[in-house]
Amino acid sequence: MAKRAAPEVNAGSMADIAFLLLIFFLVTTTIEKDSGINRKLPPIEESEEDVIIKQKNIFTVLLNKNDQLLVEDELMEIKDLKAAAVEFLDNNGDGSCDYCQGAKDPKSSDNPDKAIISLKNDGETSYSAYITVQNELVAAYNELRNRRALQIGPQRGFPEMDFVTMQKNYKNVQWVGNKEKLKTLIDQIKVEIPQKLSEVQN
């Protein structure tokens, strides 16, 4: 018996098969875009004790069914909301907050820890308007936190890093640096400028 070498397999159609698969995955791919605004809902509490909060420490935002914005009983454009919220949070009325740069107006909030933003919306409010308002309020908090992070970051060994970058780095597995120190810094800023956003039930 003469030995014959096995004939070579024709690989010419390999490209076709690969193309077929490629096109299938191209079509089924949805590029991931899952990101959003994280919120924590308040737990349903049984105890009915009323906490007394001074009127001046509450920043009321009202969104009506026509998506119009009423801030502290005045009509406002959505683009001015962030600046107004920053001004309110940063006011430092009782002078106890040494990192605030606000106007120290006695009629506005005492300090960032006491300042509460109250958001009320109507059942007919559109979701996009609601998200825009949420986004602007989060932006106001982030602006203050970024400023604070740039102030105290250099002393802790994290220069030129704002709060949002810090949080990103903390979550980033590839980031090299002292994560424990970063975590304490992030927590400190979160305590100094807490996000107190309350939503009114309707």
Partner: protein, 159 residues
């Protein structure tokens, strides 16, 4: 004479396509890795609003998706107002609690406190239905929520 002719008829040599499968495979692997299969078939309109203060939804923790929006084309018989979609079905507000319970039953026990509920709500939906769902989530103690949005300038939402 024939000497010269022979040289000419060669013309351009054909391009070697032997590496074409390799290139295609490379692309194929990229898309295979980047692909996320759609988990649910959407029966509602779902164009998310934009926001710029977004955080990435942590995939390490379990996520339950709740969709809300107007019934899409082909599902007009379900009405014109925003509806809730859980998994592959239209649902009522009362079904949210059962849905969360089912999601919790399907996951490992130690992960249950980390369950995040992603609300994928159409930009034209009204807050009434979103508020109802939020209230229902509070009742079953699923408090971590995420308003899932696209990335972009939020101020363009309201035009």
């Amino acid at each position: 004479m024939s000497k010269f002719k022979k040289k000419k008829d060669g013309g351009l040599p054909p391009v070697n396509t032997a590496s074409l499968p390799d290139i295609v495979f490379m692309l194929l692997f990229f898309f295979m890795v980047a692909t996320v299969m759609r988990e649910d078939t959407l029966m509602i309109q779902n164009s998310l609003p934009l926001a710029n203060q977004v955080e990435k939804l942590d995939k390490k923790n379990p996520i339950a998706y709740i969709y809300m929006g107007k019934p899409a084309a082909g599902y007009e018989k379900y009405g014109k107002t925003a509806r809730i979609q859980l998994n592959d079905k239209f649902a009522r507000v009362e079904d949210v609690a059962a849905f969360i319970a089912a999601e919790r039953a399907a996951m490992r026990e130690e992960l249950i406190p980390f369950l995040t509920v992603s609300l994928k709500v159409d930009r034209d939906a009204k807050m009434g239905i979103v508020g109802d769902v939020k209230q229902e989530l509070r009742k079953v103690n699923a408090l971590k929520i995420n308003y899932t949005t696209g990335a972009g300038d939020a101020l363009t939402n309201m035009q």
